[in-house]
Structures are given as C-alpha cells and as structure tokens.
Symmetry: D3
Subunit: 331 residues, 6 copies
C-alpha cells in the first residue's frame, strides 16, 4: 500500500512562456520506453512478484523502495508538461466557440489540446501510449537487476537528450534533477549486481559518458549531495537498503549514503484554468462557488485547505498575451 | 510523492492448489481496460493534471486520494495471481534442465512461465499489455467524473465475472474485497457529479444489478462497514474529501463515512521460490547466504527484518505434489 | 448515408449446443485482417475517398455497393458467434454469485465472458482487436482493385479454414453462404481490373483452388444462382454496376447477373438472455416490464413490434442442461 | 442489413484553400477513440449482440437506429477531410516525377500523401489506427447505455475542440452539424437510462458546459429543430424509439420529437482528381474514356448517372494556385 | 548486402508426432521480445546506424557479424515450428471440405491453421506480432552493448524455459543449439563492454545461473567447442572480430576462438504438403508437374536441383495417423 | 543461412545538408507496411515456410532469392536516412550539455534524436513500429504470390510518393534505384502467377501507371538494363529462378535476364560521429584509441581494415554550419 503526500519532489518554476513543442518532447520522459512510468512500474511489478523475499530481503527492499521514489518522478514530469502547456491557449477570454486553439494547429502533440485539457498524457514523444510491454519482471533477481541497470542507462540517455532539445525552464529544472536521481538508481542497481555476483561494474559509469557535474542544472543537487543519497520512502519498511547501497560513488569516490527519511519536497503551483479546453470547466468560477459551499456545509473552512506554491508577484503565465507569444514563438 | 508501506490491504490466503488458468483470467483485473492499473492510473493522471485545484479542492482531494487506494488494489491483484501460480511448476527438484514446465504447455498465459517468473504481468486475460490509451484525463471535471463513474461500473462487471469464473480461494478473497471497495468509489464519483450538477444518480445503483450482500465473500466487509467508508490515504492531505462523500448509501441507506486514517492492512505471505523459472534464482539458498552476509556487514540483524504473514502450520503449497495436482487439476 | 433493415442476409439455425471454442475461431471472420469488418471498411473508405467519381462512375458504384453488402456479412458473423455462445453459461439459475462461468475457465476467448456478454467482439481468433491498419485506400483505382482482389482471396482462405475447423451448425451455415458471396466479390474486382487494364485474370479462379460446389453448405446457394448475382444494395443509386459485372463466371461459364434489388433476407432469432453475464440484465424480466409500460405510455402496442425468427418447437438451447453440455463437450 | 444512399447528411462546402494540418486534426473525429467510427461501431456491435430483444425492444430499437445515423457521420467526416486535402498537391501539371509533394514535407499527416491518395484514413489526429478496443459491448443494457452517454460526452468535447482549432469552412460545417446531432444522441441515451433506472440525468447537460446555441455554425440546425429530432433510419423497423425518446429537451425545455423518415441529405461534390498521388490515376481522363465505353456497351447512358453537387461557378479549388496557397499558408 | 545459402545451421530431426501446443510455445523464440528476430534485427539496425565505423571498427565488425549469424537462428526456429506443425492436419485425404482442422479447435495458436499454412509466424507465444519497438539502437556504443548483453540474457532465459516446457525432439534440438550459441554472443558483448570501459563482467556468467553443460542437448555442441567459437559470417569482411573476442571463457576458462569461416550447416528436410491448409496447394502434385515443365523448357534438369535432407526410411510424420495422434495427444 | 558483405547495393551520395523532415518521410520506405522490411521479411518467412519445396522448386527459389536482395534494400534505406540525418545536430562542439538539439524541437521524427542516435529506426513515416502483422505467409503458393504482386505494387506507390516529396540527393538516389529494382520483383511475381495459373497479368503494368523511364533518377539503371535482370543472391543455390523469370518485359518488350552473380555493390561512406546524441560516443576519439590498441594487441594492422567510400574533398556535411543550415532550412 501507499500513502500519498500532496507535495512534489522539488520546487518547480511557475508557468512562463508556453512551449507546446517542448511539452511534446518531454512526454518521452513520461510515457516513453525509458520514461518514468517505465522505471516506476518496472520496479513496482518486480517488487510485487518477488519470491522468497525474506531470503533476499536487501535486494527486495532496494527495488521496492526505489519504486516508491519513481512515483514522484512520474509526478514531476507531469508537472513540467502541465507547466509548459499553461498559456498555450489563451487563459482569459479564450473560451469556445472562439478559435482559441487555431495557433496550435500542427504544433506539438495534438492530443494535448484535442483530447486532454492541456495536461500530461501517458504517451511518449510520438504520442504513442505507454505499454505494459515495457515492464520486465522475469523473477530472476540477477536478470531483473541487469535489466534495471540497462533501463536506467537508457533513461539517462533520454534525459540528456531532452535536456539538449528543450530549453524551457520547467524542462531544465526537471532534467537537471532527474539526471542526478537517475544516476543514484543506476549506481544502486550496479551495486546490487556486484553484491550478488562479484562482478565489478563501477567502470561502466557514467553511461552515456558525460558526468552530471558538467550540467549546470545538476550542480545544485550535486552540491547538496543528492547524487550520493538513497532515501527510504517508507515510514516503517525497507530497512535493509543499506546492506546493498554502500561503498564509493563510481565517479566522485565519495561514500554512498542511505537517508532514513524521504525528502520533504515542495508544494506545486496551482496551475491556472484553461477554459478553452474546459479545464477544469468552461466557467471555473462556478465550480469554485460550489466547492466553497460544500466546504461550509461540511463544517470545513470556507477557504481551500490545500497548500500550493506561492505565485510569484507578476503574473508570469498566459492570459491574452500567452497567445501572442505562441503565435510568435512556435510558428 | 508517495510513501510505501510493506503491507497489503487485507489478509490473503496462503498458496494452495495452483490454478494457472484461473491466474490467467484474474489478469483481467490487473491489466485489462477496467482493471486496477486503469483505475489507479486514471485517477493518478487526473490528479496530476488538475487545474485550479484550490478552486475545486474537494473534487481534487477526492480523485487524488482514491488514486492512492487503487495502488493497493493493483498490489492485491498481483498477490492473488502470484499465489495462484505458486506450485504450478514443482517447488522442489523442479529445476532446469528437467521438463518441469511440460504440464503447463497450452495451459493459461504462457508468459507466466516463458517470460515471467510465475508472477503477475501488466496484461489482461488475453495476455495483451495494459496501455496508456486506457487513461482518460480530459481536464474537464464533469467529464472526468462521468468517465470515472463509468470506469467503476465496468470494473464492477469484470470483478463479478471473474468471481463467477474462478473459484480459487485467492481469487475469491480478492474479488470479494474489491467488489465492496469498488462500490465505494462508484458511489463517490456519482456523489461528486451530483454535487457539481444537481443530477440525481443514486438510482443507477447497483450496476450491474446485483447487490454485493448476495455475495458471501463480500459479507465480512459489509459487516465491518467497508462499503460505507472512504479512507484518507495521506498523513497530511486531501482533507476536503468529506465535503463530497456524504449522504446515504444508495443501496442500504446507511450514512457514508470518511475515515481519517488509511486501513492498517496485513503482511503478505512470503511466496516460496520457483526454481524451475529461476525465481528468484536457480539456487535461492545461495542468495540467502549473500543476503545474510550483507546484513551482517552493514551492522543489521543477521535475520531478515521484513515482516511476512505467518505460514499456516502445514500444506505450504506445492513442492513435488504441486505438480501432480497440476496434472490432475488442469488437463 | 444508410438505411438499416432489421433482417439478416439468410436464415440462420437457432442456438443448439454451445461451442465457445468454435466461437473464438469464428472471430477470425469478424475482426481478423481478412474478416468481414475488413472487407466492409475497406470498400467503405475507398468509396468515401473516391475522386472524380463521375469520370470513373462504374467503378465507384461497384465498390460503394459491395461495401453495403459487406455490412450484412459483418452482421451475419456476429449472429453466428452469438448463437454459438448461447447456453455456454447456464440460462436458468446461472446468475451470479454462483460459479456459473467456472466451466469456461481456460476455454475459448475469455473476453466473451469476462468483458462482453457472450457476444461478438471486434477481434480476431487470437482476441486481437480489429485495426484501422487493415484498411487500404490508396486512391489509385487500379491499386485499390488489386488490393480488393487480394483481400477477397485471403478472405476465402480464412472461410475455408474456419469451415474445416468448426462444425457447429451456425458456423457451417455462415461459411457456406460467405464462401459463395465472397466468390462473387472476388470475380467482381477481377472483372473491374480487366476492364481497366485489359489483363485476363479469370484463370486465377478459384483461389484457393477448391471449387465451392464441392462444399455441401455452398450448394443450396449455387443452385439458387447466388454465385452469379451482384445485388444492388440501394433503392436509388449505384446503377452502373452492370457496366463492369458482365461476362461468364470463371469457374462455371454461366453469365454473371446484376440484380436490381437487394436480397430480402430473414429475421434473426431473438437470442435468450444470459443472466450469468448480465446480458441484457441480471433480471431480464424487469426490463421487459419497463419496456411494456413505455410502449403503452407511448401509445404503441403492448406487445413488442419487432419481428424475430420463430423458435423451433423444443430444444430451445441451453437452460441448465447447456452447462452440462459444456462440461462434457469442451473439457 | 443496410441499404446505401449516395447522398450525405448535409450540404458541405466545395473545396477551397487546402488545409492539410487541419485535415490531420479533423482525423480525431473520424478514427479517434471518441470519433464517429467509435460511435458507429459501438452502437452497431451492441445492436448485434442484444439478447432478449423482444423483451427490451424500445432500447434495442434506439441503439440499432442511432447506429445507422452514425454511419452517415463517419461519411461526413471523411467528406470534410477529403475536401480539406483537395488541392494540397497541385491539381494540374502536378504529376510525378515532379516534386509535387515537396511543400507537404513535414506538414500534417504524412500518410495522407505517402500512403493514401489525399483521402480520409481510419486514424486519429496522431495517425494512430482506429482500434476494435474502442468498442464496448458488455451486453448489460444499463452498462452499455452508461457507456454510450459517456462516449457521446467525450465525442462532444472532441468536436468542440476541433471546432476551436480548425477554421476551414469544411471543418466548421462539419462540427456545427455534428455538435447538434451528437447532442441528440447524448440526450437519447440519458433518457434511456432514466427509463430503466429512474435516475434523473438531465441536469448533466450540457457537458462540456457550453450550450450549442452559442456556436454560430450550430444555429441553423437549432433553428430547424435538429436538436430535438431523432430520425428513424429504416423504412420498416425500429418503431419503438418513441417509447424512450420523449419529454423535454434538457437545455431548452422544448419537446423531443421522433421523425418517421430519415433526413433527405444532399449530394456530395465530386472532388477533383489529384494526379500527384495517383487518385484516381496518373491520367484520370483515360479512366473516364473506359468508363464511358463500358456504360455504352452495357446499354446505359453515355453520361454518368450519378448525382453530385453542382460546382460553384468559379474558384473550384486548387490547380497550380492551390500549391502556392500551400506554400504561403502552412509554412 | 547478403548472400543466402540454402542450408540451415544444424541437422534438425525430421517431422514426427505433431505438437501444435509446443509449436505455439516455441514461437516465443521467434517473435517474442527476446526471440531471434529481436537479436537479428537489433544487431542489424545497430550495424546500419554505426557512425565512425573506422574509428570503432572492432566493435562494428563484432555487431555486424553476429547479426549475420542470427539470421540463421531465426531460420532455425522457423524450421522447428514447421516441423512440429507437420501432420497436425492429416497429410493424406485431409483436404477441404472435410473437417480436417476440427481436432485443432482450441489447440495452440489458431493463426497457425486459420491464417498461415501450418507455418512459422512472426509472433510470440501469445500470438502477438513482433514489433519494431523491440529494436534498441541508440547509436551510443556502450549503451548498445549494454543492451545487447541484457538482450542475450533475456534470450537465454527464454530458451531455458522453452526447453523445460516443450519436449518435442525438434524443440529440444533447437534449444540445445541456441543455448550454446546464445552463450557465445552473451560473452562477446560482455567482452566488448570490458574492452571499452575496463569493467569486469565475467562474473555475471552464467545468467540465468545454470551452466549449459548440465543440459544434455547442449553437450554435443560443447564437446565440439561451439561454446568458444565466434564464426566470421562473411567471405570478405569483419576481420577485426578477433580484437575483441579474446581471453578465457567465463565458465570453463578455455580460450575463446575466432573461426574464419562460417559453419557449413546442413540441408533441411523438405517438409511435406499440408493440403488441408492449402500448403503449398490443394493439389500439390499439379504444381509439381508445372514446375517440371518449366525446368525442362528452361533447359534445366527434369528433376529438382535443390538439396534437401534425406528422409529417414520410414515415414515418420503424419498421414491419416497424424490426426489420430493429435486427438490422443493434445486433448 | 546468410553470409554478409560489407558493401551496399549502389554508390550513395555523401552527407550534405541535413534533412530531418525528409528523413522522417523516408522512414515509410523502411518500416512502413509497404517498406523494405516488409518485402524482406515477407519473402523470408514465405521461404522458411515453403512446403514441398522440391515439387515447387522454381517458385521456392524465386521467393527465397528475392528475399536476399531485399535485405540489401532495407540496408540502403537505412543508409539514406542516416545520411540525411548527418549534421542535423552540430558535428563539432555540439556536445551536451549544450542545447545542440534545440533547433530540432518539433522537427521530423523526435525518436531520431531523443531515442536513437540520428539513425534509422524500424518505424514508418508516423514513427509507428514495423509489425509482424505485415507479414503474409499463407503457405498457399498462388495466394502468397498474389500477395507479393500486390505488395510490390503498394511499395512502388510509396516510392513514387517519397520521390515527389523528398528532394534530398540521398532520397532521390534511393528511390531512383528502388523503383527500378522493385519493378523487377513486381514482374517476377506476376510471371510466377502466370506460370502457375495461365492468367495474363502483363497488362497490369506499370502500376501505378507511370513508367520508370520518365524518372531521371531511374534512367541510369534502365540504361544499364537493371530493369530486366534478376540476380542470383547465392553462391550455390536457387538455380531454378530462370525457369520462371523469362519472356519479355511488360513495358519495354525486352527479354528478361537472370544474372548468375549478385551485383558487386559499393562501399558506404563512413558517416561522421554525432556527439550531441552520443553516437558512437560523447568523445569518439577515445573509442578510436581503444580500437587501435585492441587491433595492435591482436596482431592486426594498426589502421582499421574496413573499406569505406572515399570522402569527397570538401567537407560537405555538418560541423557548426550544419546547424545554421538547419535553423534556416527547416523552420
């Protein structure tokens, strides 16, 4: 079972200029074969299917626990995509039956606008759905770990390339963080293989062969030691992580660390309505009134209880001007 | 983000006679269009993509929180399938290069044996992979809720039919529980639609038109009031659930209840190794020795720290006799 | 546009012993690459996309008109499958929560029972969905006709093989008829190609090389001349068929004929409820009462107005005994 | 069975400036999950699979009859796409081996040019094929109707968004009409559910929450009362529609009406040849000569017998200038 | 470019008792994610896409050359499947319109009989088509080799499990050989990774952890040293293999060897006609007469020139008795 | 089995201006339904599955041999795509973590950059994977040949359209050659059908109806007689080709010819590294040093042994300027 926390892994930038083509590319990190749905669901299924857990407990704990972190990565990619799509249709006065989506014809992933509500989809950069075929769960622990090491390698490749292609601040914040955390998981699986077989895999790092410290958006995380830490994403379980995740980091030589608490994270921005795509409605203010009444009837506070990131003072995203930026920016 | 707890939603029966054909059928509840991966990932994506959360907070909280419970349902279906596959290949002395899988030729889902390690797969009852196409996230709150109500209806249909087809104790324990909990979610989404539009949907219940109290395996849960309760699956968030999930239950007239804590759940059985399919290895005892040494080196206890369900005194599933049961039982 | 007639192409036998494995095989003729959905939708899309219709009118008329007949073939395959599935779960007293579907575990296409209501699905014999990829519509008239000739050839192969594999009376009635009508379409497309290019294709018949008159179930149709006739499936249009469909039949030498009216067809049997799969409901008699009241309220007759085939005096398929037959017959 | 009429549901505009990117977007309404192939084939399969038709006749008649109208909607989307693609490659002098398709590199759906003949394809806006997976036919009448209501809701969303994105006259004529007719079907399925269960669903309208009267292209149809009428698409059958489709319209309060005859429709334009993609041929005039001779030989009139829309006096789409418009218009 | 030799990699057994369920399982080794089409086409695409070949020549030569051997493995799996399907329908007197395929209803992969001619298909053990998605070609040499090592590991797992499940002599001959040759490729890719990075991967062997010498059907190949040899599958190229494939074998310590010539192989059996599925025809003797005449007309020998394996003296496969064995053997 | 030769079918032009949108279109000829993977694998599987080869030897030899030529066509399309993608990211100084791929956002097939290393993929022009569903292998020789004739017709259509859309020199060199060679195969299959049935198919040529001599890039091949020759792609086998491939060419009347040796082909260019996508590495010069050392250690020459096409004197592709051309050329 899980418990859910309404916070995201890191502070993400607020919406700024929309970037629908960038958002279409970032989908590769969500629903692509090497995207975060794949890492999340591979490790999740492997943990479900683990036999003789007690006999192989440190390895089970490692896989089951990394799975939990990956959920937060899926979430973070979704946040980036939603942020990049905000303002792609006009935020004010952009409702149907106007031609509010006309500047988006032929731009980016059409399902972002025609099917979804300018939101993230379980698709890759070609708009193809994530598939259960992407899950590898052979039950053979050495084989599953070999796969996981390969998967993290492919994932790192994808993150580097999205980094190079998409300069939007949300995409850069995302890839900077994921490259560092993905690197930790790559090391973790290599270490696990080493523990089981005696092979020495540390010289395979980094793969692809560019160290994360060359990447400006990775630096703050490296300075905080995020490249060395495996967090325990459970209040009670997966205590044997530390039996596997030990020794020096293959690139820096610093000692690997297990953190007993999951990172605190940060609240996400409350992304504004996009009435042109009916998200969350054609007239969101009516929903707000209903919500307020429901809260009052239920004896809750009149104001919403949820915590969201504080909006920067100037209105950075969208409104009518968002559309103009689109017209200029993408065509 | 999530935190993961190494417990499952309910106590499940230990492995008994293997039922590979039943396990193939139960896959529909895991990777089918109306299976638990679909409920989990639909609500998860809808919560990721929610715009103007503060304005529509009670609805956001409802969807985001039910998503968290659904993870536990995915897990539970996987437990059932793994339990049913235990012993399908001989547990002792059934290692390659013997013809240990010969009795399984043409039986059930071949990927359970040829690709996986007698474990659950993200596939439906035809062996087709779960697809991101199954996720509906339009961003329009009324439309998403309409979808969710329909999805739970289809899911209930699937559970009823699997109940009728598969008599294995694990399948019955699973469907008994899921029918009750799915019913709660069906009500929750109908209530949310009512709150937003004023329509009266309660007369659509039950759909399909068979009340759960007719089903023996549902009874214990109904007696405990599980058909009335929506749990909050977060230590800190989703406080506004209760503004939506109120009023009488459409079938019994009892008052709906919001529980502030998630259910405690239970430990799962540690399913035995299946060396014929190398799960977790050809010689699992070697893994166990490595694990013990790693624990000791790391200053942890010599014995594994994880908590698993206590094995019933005898009839521990499978071994050589498991195979005989197969031969007799499925062909 | 179309008009729909509530009759099927030929008289079909009433339900008898259920044959779920046969029904799974017959799906190939419905949703397979060479099944009737493919012939129907290929010709339909080609007719939609036809350019310069006036210039090429006889060819347009031919394709558009055969499309209309193919709809009736899709319907007929569905009737056969539904007939063969009737009684596979017990018709009386077989409602949930009994294990009414237990004898069907591992038998036939599981979606017939777990997802559908013992009804036809747009799938092939492997349970794979029909795909828009099966439609070929290049716009090039010679190429489209070449494709159509090939498609009918592949379809004939499939029908012959289903004939050989499935002996259920509904399957035999179906394939006997479709082999004859498919042969007419194969000739029609070959003739069209001949008219356009001057090539002589008649020596390609029959392909596969077994004449339909060898097949007992084809005989009645050949005796009635159905192998020679192209019907006009429109009260007003497609008058230029006859400019293409002329000359001798390649196998018998008899003259081809255009019929100005579509065949009269026959009413279908009203297949009985299957309450174990909730089709059309758990308690169908309640639906019937509602329907009667609605009719009366609307000033219609108290009895239903639709025409269905007259049930044979006894042996109305299924009931409790249907299940016994299953148990004996398929396992 | 069906009869086919060589007319389309409404008068559509003649080809004007080509809009290949718009055509790619409109494909969502053809082959998307919520497109017209889905409505057509869902209701068609549900009608094929209906059990106990006599007992539930009004509901069977409703579903079977709406299926027939949907065929005409599929056709209409195809007409729109074909119209929008006309002239995208030069109509005169644009034959291979020139680089006639060079301006279309990277524009719209490449299969419109490389695989098809500038015609409609059974694909969505991402170029993904329509799939049999989109058909839901559970056999349970309440569940199927719940699905159908949801499907029409999703379809309405898609139509609104395509309306906003694509301003081409053919796309606007299409979506204006389909929004009105889709609305009728949405009401019909809600009414059917109400009749069966007693639930009150009328307050769910409109969903998405924008009334069609706000949309200029819907107005003429609303003025003609098309939002209130359910047509009987059969010369002989489906007489019990009227027992379900009664009462006030949920948005306007006007009384719903059953029309005993299908709409007359209108002839389609005969779209000109596109020799650059060999549609219908590299040298269509040769085909025309063959056709004329075949007609004469068959004793038919020398001129084609089919009825097509009268071409407007000038500006008949395309020719060389079509290409220039492309170059200017899409890149 | 390639040259093709009409010989197969090893002598395979002649047809004996048909095993359609076994053949369905063996398909996993042909069209599964880890089957031979995957190894063949992965290495082939990687060799096509190799950049800076001259700079990385030993690695290019290795990948390009192994690709060539894999073609022969695809072929060999096909031979095994065809052999196992021979006689599944009666060889004499089993032509349509008899019910020759009736005993095969519900047995094995229905496409073997309904779509194909009792031949191999590019599908896996679930009947799902091989997909281009299975090809990984990142262009990054370390990453591609990491993938290839993982792919061979997964392939070895699949071969072991098919070995355990299918006892038919053709399946055993196949898997015995492929396990040995796959092991060589697994070593080759590990060595290549070691050369490029300095990591030590030899301790990962064997994976899965069962040495091939435990498998009787592998023994003859190990005795001949096939587990040590990499053949050069080119008369002229790929000379730099030997710069990578050196050092001791990880399991036996024997020295690895590069052979300058490809193995000689053996002729395949000429599998008999299966007239019930029209393979190669309903009346194959007519084809033979035509062939003879064509040869004579072309000045070739009257007898066929091809070399096939000598049939064992007694007719081991099929005829009428094949069918009886089916009935007894698989149901 | 095959032998592989490190040469390609014809001399191809060196990289020049990159054309990522053109490369995305050319993918249709690689992984599309009518692309070269389809021709290659259709004929390959048909040859694997051929029954009674000795009886039908001339036909088996024809199919098996053409399969071998098709491998070289797959390779040639890959060369064209790789050539067109060279320089799309900057060749010098374009490494991560720069935004080297930013000009490619929204351009062409994103998988060329985000997943692959600017290399060919087994995908079509929509980025959809090649599928085993594209293989038709019924075992019925007449039917398979009918299919093959149709397949070559569709393939010719695709080549003509790619020719019209993509003017890049590599695409034109490719399509010019493939149109001629595909024409030979189209004739070969038609002739085979004629030999078996007596039908006269020559009047179906050319289809689509544009003779290759109208296409400038085809001319050199026609002048060399390539449209008349079927090469034997085996040093030892497939001797009976000539019994089928005889008579006059349907378009020119010249006599068809069987060549006893395969064409010599030409070396390919060694395409330069693309470090922005890590192909073959971030720092390819390090790989080169390792390779040199490995060669020396193995007693091979210090310089690479492979033969590649001689680079034209001026550096035609890429470097920094490649990027500028991109920016100017595609957006």
């Amino acid at each position: 079972m899980i418990r859910r926390i309404d916070r995201i892994a890191i502070e993400m930038p607020p919406p700024s200029d929309p970037d629908p083509e960038g958002a279409a590319a970032v989908q590769e990190l969500l629903g692509g074969r090497f995207g975060e749905m794949s890492t999340f669901l591979n490790y999740t299924f492997q943990s479900f299917n683990f036999r003789n857990k007690q006999g192989a407990r440190p390895f089970y704990d490692l896989v089951a626990n990394i799975a939990a972190e990956e959920f937060g990565h899926v979430e973070l990619v979704a946040v980036a995509i939603n942020t990049m799509l905000t303002g792609a249709s006009p935020i004010d006065g952009g409702q149907a039956p106007k031609a509010s989506l006309a500047p988006l014809k032929g731009v980016g992933n059409p399902h972002h606008f025609l099917v979804g509500g300018q939101g993230a989809l379980p698709q890759n950069s070609l708009g193809q759905p994530w598939s259960g075929d992407y899950v590898f769960s052979s039950g053979d622990i050495v084989e599953d770990l070999t796969h996981n090491f390969f998967l993290e390698t492919g994932a790192r490749n994808g993150k580097l390339k999205v980094y190079e292609m998409v300069e939007h601040p949300a995409a850069r914040a995302l890839t900077g963080y994921l490259l560092v955390r993905g690197g930790v998981h790559q090391v973790a699986y290599a270490r696990a293989l080493e523990r089981l077989t005696g092979a020495d895999l540390m010289k395979l790092f980094p793969s692809p062969r560019i160290p994360t410290e060359k990447i400006p958006e990775c630096k703050p995380y490296i300075e905080r030691g995020e490249h060395l830490r495996l967090y325990r994403f459970s209040p009670s379980d997966y205590l044997e992580l530390g039996a596997v995740f030990t020794g020096p980091h293959p690139e820096t030589g610093e000692e690997l660390v297990v953190e007993d608490e999951a990172p605190e994270g940060a609240p996400a921005f409350d992304l504004p309505s996009q009435p042109a795509v009916f998200a969350p409605d054609y007239a969101p203010e009516e929903i707000a009134k209903i919500a307020e009444k429901l809260r009052t009837d239920a004896g809750l506070s009149k104001a919403p209880t949820g915590v969201v990131a504080k909006q920067p003072s100037r209105r950075a995203s969208g409104s009518g001007s968002g559309r103009k930026r689109m017209a200029a920016g993408t065509k």
